[in-house]
């Protein structure tokens, strides 16, 4: 078999925010580092992040500090977060943002010349460092340019299909160049997974084709475990019309900057959906909510800025109750509340996106929005300080890692998550590689087997079209494991997933190996299926509603489940096994923070 081989200390899979930050740190720690990514450098899904990077820098509100951020994050995640990750995240995020400036990032400024911060759902103070509504682009470009300046090797348009292990852990990775279809293997004692999420298993999603859950699946197959997979975040505001753009994200900044949600009757319905958990800190009247934008001390936040799970469920209920818009969403209105100049200045890419794709002028008309699959809270179970998975040499950071966000992620916490844990993963991976003296040759039989498996779809004739199978999977997950879940539907979903697995084993693709999207999809589908199975099984198991997991048959939270994590691992039959695991115990000095009344 013709095979290109490379040798590194650390191989980072994925070139989004977490991957690049990990690579930079590994490089700075003296490791020979490579980044492998499915797209061109700089195209990763991080560019889609709009709102900002949450960090308690206290540039606008001196009252803000890491303890408030920690508290917001834990409460947003309904206390299911790994406390240590939430703590590290809140403590380190400000430094991670400041160092971006040393690498060329240009954030919007406060009148004092500091980094400006904006309001977002679930955050007590204006906390999101931002650049208009294109913060993700700024983040990825900054890290990309830093990566290039440091001379780190980047393998672009290259997909990893296997992690290679021996009894002591990771020894490398195997993949193919998308462009030529040729195989390539990296020998490395440390691999950092930074592959992002799983959204492409859903029909309506804000995620791109890359989000096929490969990192989750690779980790599982290598012997690592996944945590919290039942928690999938549906962003409350995705576009709903026209059909071809359904699911594309409408940033939360629209609400942070004054936008409100209305149903078809013109009512500001979020006031009817304030849960007891957040009642103390949420405005009761429209007048109070409107005053809050200018005076945060004496007023409470508008209910539009509740955490995303609450808002998504509320929109879902309004539409189901027949108070939706003609295209099955609700209205998001900023036109009647802010001046056109303000809107164009603060939300330029939203203005552009609606004008170009939906022929809607958001400075004059309300937008139609509805929930869209956005983020998976669950992911590879890692050590909070080193991001090490259960397999020695394997690390995970960013969306592919689990635990940090509990049952629901706050907006803005994902970009800071990428930076904080990307850096920690890169550091730990470099250290691990440093401790691995003698190199282990990649075994020929494992490489040959990986190659055979990748080429299998070409061998079969007259099998099924991968696009059809993908479509059926997306429909199944959308209909049966969506925002609102019930046991019978999820059981049906598992049956269908089992049937889809058989169909995937019988896929065939036309054409040859050179840049063949049909073949690429055929190789991504097994990942999507195994991740979908994890989600469905974990969701069926958790008999309560919490954060991004809502059960129609178990509508409330359950204190017992509030102390339990569900862990997915690979079963001996190739399927998914589910286990219960107690939530790590928060130390008393952190638990105190929740006793404090918010100032």
């Amino acid at each position: 078999m013709e095979l290109e081989k490379h040798e590194y200390d650390v191989v980072v899979v994925g070139a989004g925010g977490a991957g690049l930050r990990a690579a930079i740190e590994a490089h700075d720690s003296g490791a020979r580092t490579a980044v492998v990514c499915k797209s061109l450098l700089g195209k990763a899904h991080t560019v889609m992040a709009e709102g900002g990077i949450a960090a308690a820098m206290a540039n606008l509100y001196p009252e803000d500090n890491w303890r408030v951020h920690f508290r917001d994050t834990m409460r947003g995640g309904k206390m299911l977060n790994h406390w240590r990750m939430a703590q590290l995240h809140a403590q380190e995020a400000p430094d991670r943002v400041r160092e971006l400036e040393d690498w060329g990032a240009l954030f919007d400024r406060t009148p004092d010349g500091l980094i400006s911060q904006r309001d977002f759902g679930g955050h007590r103070y204006a906390r999101l460092a931002h650049v208009g509504d294109r913060t993700g682009l700024e983040l990825i470009r900054t890290l990309q340019q830093r990566t290039v300046a440091l001379g780190i090797d980047v393998y672009m348009e290259c997909t990893v299909t296997r992690l290679l292990t021996d009894e002591d852990g990771i020894i490398g990775a195997f993949g193919y160049w998308r462009e030529s279809g040729r195989f390539v293997a990296w020998q490395a004692p440390s691999v950092v997974l930074a592959t992002g999420g799983i959204g492409k298993s859903y029909k309506v999603t804000s995620n791109s084709w890359e989000y096929t859950g490969d990192g989750h699946s690779l980790a599982l197959q290598a012997g690592a475990t996944l945590v919290n997979m039942e928690f999938v975040q549906f962003h409350p505001t995705g576009m709903v019309w026209p059909p071809s753009v359904r699911g594309i994200l409408v940033t939360e900044s629209v609400r942070g900057d004054g936008g409100i949600l209305k149903n078809s009757a013109g009512n500001r319905f979020m006031f009817d959906y304030i849960p007891d958990f957040f009642r103390k800190e949420t405005a009761e009247t429209e007048a109070e909510a409107d005053r809050w934008y200018d005076d945060k001390k004496n007023n409470r936040r508008p209910p539009e800025l509740l955490p995303r799970d609450e808002v998504a469920r509320a929109i879902n209920s309004e539409v189901k109750a027949g108070r939706g818009t003609p295209h099955g969403g609700v209205y998001l209105d900023i036109a009647s509340r802010r001046s056109p100049e303000y809107i164009r200045k603060r939300l330029p890419s939203m203005y552009h996106q609606f004008r170009e794709l939906a022929e809607v002028d958001i400075t004059a008309e309300p937008m139609e929005v509805g929930p869209t699959c956005h983020y998976v809270m669950g992911g590879v179970e890692v050590d909070p300080d080193t991001e090490a998975a259960r397999v020695p040499g394997l690390y995970a950071a960013g969306e592919v890692a689990g635990g940090m966000h509990g049952s629901n992620r706050l907006g803005g916490n994902s970009l800071s998550d990428l930076l904080v844990f990307g850096r920690r993963a890169g550091q730990a991976a470099a250290e691990h590689a440093h401790g691995c003296a003698g190199r282990i040759e990649l075994p020929d039989d494992a490489l040959a087997e990986a190659g055979r498996a990748a080429l299998a779809p070409f061998e079969r004739e007259g099998g099924e079209n991968p696009y059809t199978v993908q479509h059926d999977l997306q429909q199944t997950m959308h209909d049966l494991v969506g925002i609102i879940r019930t046991a019978p539907e999820m059981e049906l979903a598992l049956e269908r997933i089992a049937a889809l697995k058989e169909r995937v084993a019988n896929l065939s693709v036309e054409g040859h190996r050179q840049y063949n999207p049909g073949w690429h999809l055929a190789l991504d589908l097994p990942h999507m299926l195994i991740v979908s199975e994890c989600i469905a099984r974990a969701a069926l198991e958790r008999e309560e509603s919490r954060g991004g997991h809502t059960r129609d048959d178990f509508p409330g939270p359950d204190p017992g489940w509030g102390k339990t994590n569900l862990i997915c691992s690979s079963a001996s039959d190739g399927g998914v096994a589910i286990g219960h695991q107690p939530l790590p115990q928060m130390p008393a000095e952190l638990a105190e923070i929740f006793e404090e009344t918010p100032s």
């Binding site: 061109l40 195209k43 899904h45 560019v47 026209p242 170009e356 794709l357 939906a358």
Partner: protein, 251 residues
């Protein structure tokens, strides 16, 4: 609202290829990329196309539609008549890999040659202080999504392959402008802009500004100001003299 559209799509690779005709259904509100995906799912499973976000934010799906460089995800089908044939070809300034996918590595090579951002040191409290008006000019160029449509349309390299060695293209000229205007950066890139990155090749014919999907004013706000900064350094004896005798410090 559904109709059958006539599409002509270039299929082939570096060895050769041609425009193939397809008839494909189009629904209300769709963009060209939707139609290409429908072709892929129903008629040509191996049709190669590069894309990611489908919302005009990542700059992956660049192609030429009816001869004009555009993002496929931001070109609405409603801009064409129902009886109009829509021709989709790969970017013509770059080597083709397959079908609509081209080899854009030229851009990554140029990016790597640009002298890196080098900041002044932080203030005592660990912050950098800049006013909004100081950062806005460079922010405009940082909106760039690297779709490389400007590189594709620029005649300097589109029509003259041999210039690729000595000309970085509009995308990287505005990158140089961004760094030169950056309030924190301390490196002078003006000589490099002229000598290594071929600023003088640009004849300000503005096609880059015309095709930019982000609406960046590449020529007026980036390339021309950079040319003027180079004039300060290389062609204007007065500013040269001023700088020599210390009357005109670069702030």
């Amino acid at each position: 609202m559904t109709y059958d559209a006539a599409f002509r799509v270039w299929r082939g690779d570096a060895e050769g290829g041609d425009l193939r005709d397809f008839t494909v259904a189009v629904n209300e509100g769709e963009v060209v990329l939707d139609v290409i995906h429908r072709l892929q799912a129903t008629q040509a499973g191996d049709l190669a196309v590069r894309w990611n976000c489908k919302a005009g934010k990542c700059g992956s799906c660049s192609a030429e539609i009816n001869g004009r460089p555009r993002l496929m995800c931001m070109t609405r089908m409603s801009t064409f008549g129902e009886d109009e044939t829509v021709t989709v070809t790969p970017l013509r300034a770059f080597p083709v890999i397959r079908d609509l996918v081209t080899d854009v590595s030229f851009n990554y090579e140029k990016a790597a040659q640009i002298p890196a951002f080098t900041p002044r040191s932080r203030e005592k409290d660990g912050n950098h202080r800049m006013q909004q008006i100081d950062v806005e000019r460079s922010q405009e160029f940082r909106k760039c999504i690297e779709c490389f449509l400007c590189q594709d349309t620029c005649h300097v390299i589109r029509d003259h392959e041999e210039n690729k060695a000595s000309f970085a293209g509009p995308r990287f000229l505005i990158r140089l402008a961004e760094l030169d205007m950056h309030p924190l950066d301390v490196v002078d890139r003006r000589d490099a802009a002229q000598e290594e990155f071929g600023l003088g090749f640009c004849n300000v014919t503005k096609c880059c500004s015309e095709v930019c999907p982000e609406g960046i004013h590449l020529t007026d706000n980036g390339i021309i100001p950079l040319k003027e900064r180079v004039v300060d350094r290389k062609f204007d004896p007065l500013t040269w003299l001023g700088a020599k005798i210390g009357r005109r410090p670069r702030d």
